[in-house]
Point group: C2
Chain length 469, copies 2
């Protein structure tokens, strides 16, 4: 059976450093220019010309402030700080590219569905159908405190809110403006008024739920995809249920084959329960690649990069993710958890009797083979392509979010060395598609019929409503 093209995303953040801690100190890293438009245009063009499908931009709405009990280390080490808005980049990059997709992280916890739906419709228009939304619910307490909440909304309730948020958004995107509502008839002698939009084809959504009340119609005319391609990354049981219902592309972090396989299988099982067709969800994992013309040259590059790596920067990030202040642990002492540790499932990644694993922080967070919080491959074109194909096979995934060690250098290296090899193997998408959804799934630009958002589609006729709102 012919292998299908892999999903190839470039993964970054509107910040000086994303997950390659300390690498901003490397002379090749350009991410310190992240506030400049030119940096992003160069990056987006490098990805598009290099064969990537999508630029995936992470975000955080707060500083990382668990390590050391404050945010001093995150600032000093440039760990995801300063961090600028990712959504505002898309307009500029839309004009500088013609095929690349844009997957942007936006939280459902701090936005209003009526306005966020308009933002994504606007961007889907401006990009001509190339926008994707990485739906997150925001985990940082430091964000919640500055955004009007005394403390974070409880984890599972954040997903309840997100479920209703998406229901509202589907109604606005799919169930408000019928195809053909926008008539744009300039009029004639017989009909001098003309008709811009046919009001009988624009429907108020009448949503009244537990968290949101949105009676009116969508403000914007339908865009090419109507609904942005939906990315999601939740790994918790509740997050997996959310992904199984809504996601079209699920992003799984980590480098543990069995963990990823279990996650993929579980989301697929839950998706079946939601009535979604097999293959309706694609899975990607975080991967870093250090490559060059030969294995030896790649190994030399790795050694150079390693000398700029900052293990404490990794701890700043991991402390914020887990809520455990790792500044209190000695870098070179094995971690031991006790039965009283509230986060012992997290600490088990270091100290796991069942696997015999007992690591120090330096061991756990040193770039053994590579960088970032996912799988790493180091080598020349054939080595990386072999290992990457093997990785997709054993993890049962469809593609990668390629993290950068240096930016845009890591993406350019991958394009120069690995993409030609993958192209020979038929693993790079060569098609011209009318939209990102069409590109990734080889079908229509709209949501497929088995997706819950499609329930609100006007292809399933509804009775006309009163127009007065």
């Amino acid at each position: 059976m012919a292998k299908s093209p892999i999903i190839l995303n470039g993964f970054t953040m509107n910040a000086v450093s994303h997950v390659a801690y300390g690498l901003w100190r490397h002379p090749d890293d350009q991410a310190y220019r992240h506030a400049e438009l030119d940096y992003w245009i160069e990056l987006a063009r490098a990805l598009e010309d290099g064969g990537f499908d999508c630029l995936f931009i992470a975000d955080a709405l707060g500083l990382l402030d668990v390590h050391g009990g404050g945010y001093a280390a995150s600032l000093a080490k440039g760990v995801q700080s300063p961090v600028n808005d990712p959504l505002l980049l898309v307009g500029a990059l839309a004009g500088a590219t013609s095929r690349l997709g844009f997957g942007v992280t936006v939280s459902t916890t701090y936005e209003k569905p009526y306005l966020l739906a308009r933002k994504f419709t606007t961007l889907d228009h401006l990009t001509k159908g190339r926008i994707a939304w990485n739906v997150v619910t925001s985990q940082l307490d430091s964000a919640a405190r500055n955004l009007g909440l005394d403390k974070q909304v409880a984890h599972d309730e954040r997903y309840e809110i997100a479920d209703e948020f998406l229901e509202v958004a589907y109604k606005l995107w799919q169930g408000s403006w019928e195809d053909g509502a926008l008539v744009r008839d300039r009029g004639s002698a017989a009909n001098p008024d003309g008709l811009y939009t046919d009001p009988s084809k624009v429907h108020p959504i009448g949503h009244s739920g537990r968290y949101f009340k949105v009676p009116g119609p969508h403000l914007s005319e339908p865009s090419p995809q109507r609904v942005p391609v939906l990315f999601q990354a939740g790994g918790s049981p509740r997050g997996q249920r959310f992904a199984a219902r809504h996601a079209e592309v699920v992003f799984i972090a980590g480098a543990d084959v069995d963990g990823i396989r279990r996650n993929v299988a579980e989301v697929k099982r839950l998706a079946r329960d939601e009535g979604r067709a097999p293959g309706s969800i694609k899975f990607i994992s975080a991967v870093s690649v250090i490559t060059d013309e030969t294995d030896a040259a790649a190994a030399a590059k790795l050694a150079d990069y390693r000398s700029h790596y900052d293990v404490e920067g990794a701890l700043v990030h991991y402390s914020a993710t887990t809520g455990i202040d790792f500044s209190k642990h000695d870098l070179d002492q094995p971690i031991r958890y006790t039965e009283t540790d509230s986060n012992r499932s997290l600490l088990r990644m270091f100290d796991d009797p069942s696997s015999g694993r007992q690591w120090t922080l330096r061991q756990a967070f040193s770039p053994e083979g590579g960088f970032g919080r996912g799988k790493s491959f180091v080598g020349g074109p054939k080595t990386v392509a072999d290992e990457l194909e093997q990785w997709l096979e054993v993890t049962d995934t469809d593609g990668i979010n390629l993290t950068h060690v240096v930016s845009p250098g890591s993406f350019i290296d991958f394009s120069a060395h690995v993409v030609p090899e993958l192209r020979r193997r038929g693993r790079i998408r060569e098609i011209e598609a009318p939209s990102l959804r069409s590109r990734l799934f080889g079908r229509d630009s709209r949501l497929p019929a088995d997706h819950p958002g499609a329930r609100h589609d006007f292809s399933q006729a509804r009775p006309p409503e009163a127009l007065a709102s």
Copy 2:
């Protein structure tokens, strides 16, 4: 005394029609392409090449639904509907231009200051100091209903919220990151860690007020202007107080010389009370210009445009602005208000015994001399330049928001015919300035010392705070 250059803004909306009702039916109007990036890039380049200072984009967060008791007419006539997000355009236009400023309308009623401050900082970076914020508080009930409020927040309280919103934003923009906080020291043998941001120069703002609680520091590094140039358009007594405190450019609607003069004088008086220096606020009014090589050619153009004008479209807009459903009035009967009319001050524009005015709706909303909701000038280069200079003189204003009849045609016409004449008279800005604020005010890119936002500036030293948030 030499006359200073006028402020020349192009005024529009991310919608098919802004204030030239019905003109979307004219074959020259391109605004139906407002969802396309190319339309905006053409428009922005036409403005920049044509000598304009700034593109000013209005917004509305709801459909206009007072006329006829619903939004059917606003859709059918394309009156400010559909309407897409304006802020997301700026990134694209930043890359397509190098001098043009961007004044974007965003409401303080539905945004969170912690995130909106980051958005404007991001855009100020991407535009290299060319962003302005038109601060509004949103008047449409149709927006409130879809954004989580059962009804609109009361008018004056919206301004109380806006006052505190700006205070929070000033603290984030001006009082959080000191100049020099971003060190970007890649390290050395003596200091292998390096230092990206100096945490001792990043301060939590510790804001706890009536409407907002924002303890932490700003997420983004300071941008060229730090604070976007602040535009404001409130004409009510409370709105004028707000403008006098915060605005750098005040936008006054209407075509009534005495009304504009009174408004200008009152805001200047209130600004003195706020301790702001004379000349610290510039005033602009809405103007439409129909021009060509000669007066006769301009008059012919006016006749052509008039034949596409839709007086009922004007009523759709005016009904939403005033809350009066004008669909109930006969277009050709004089309007009479009675003492029981709750909106009689509004109706007095039609029926004013003291001025002897007694108009029908058709008379009041027909494009007597031009279009839009401001002053109109029709003629060749010299005629328009003379009348425009006279207008600025008698209204005591510093510039204009030029509305379009057709877009981008009206802007291109103005640039082709009127700008060269104004340039000969020394009224067009020829300078290269490091930022929009610097361009408009001929001084530093930062807020001046007499502005209330400057109180939070780090040039006035503050004691260091604890870093743990």
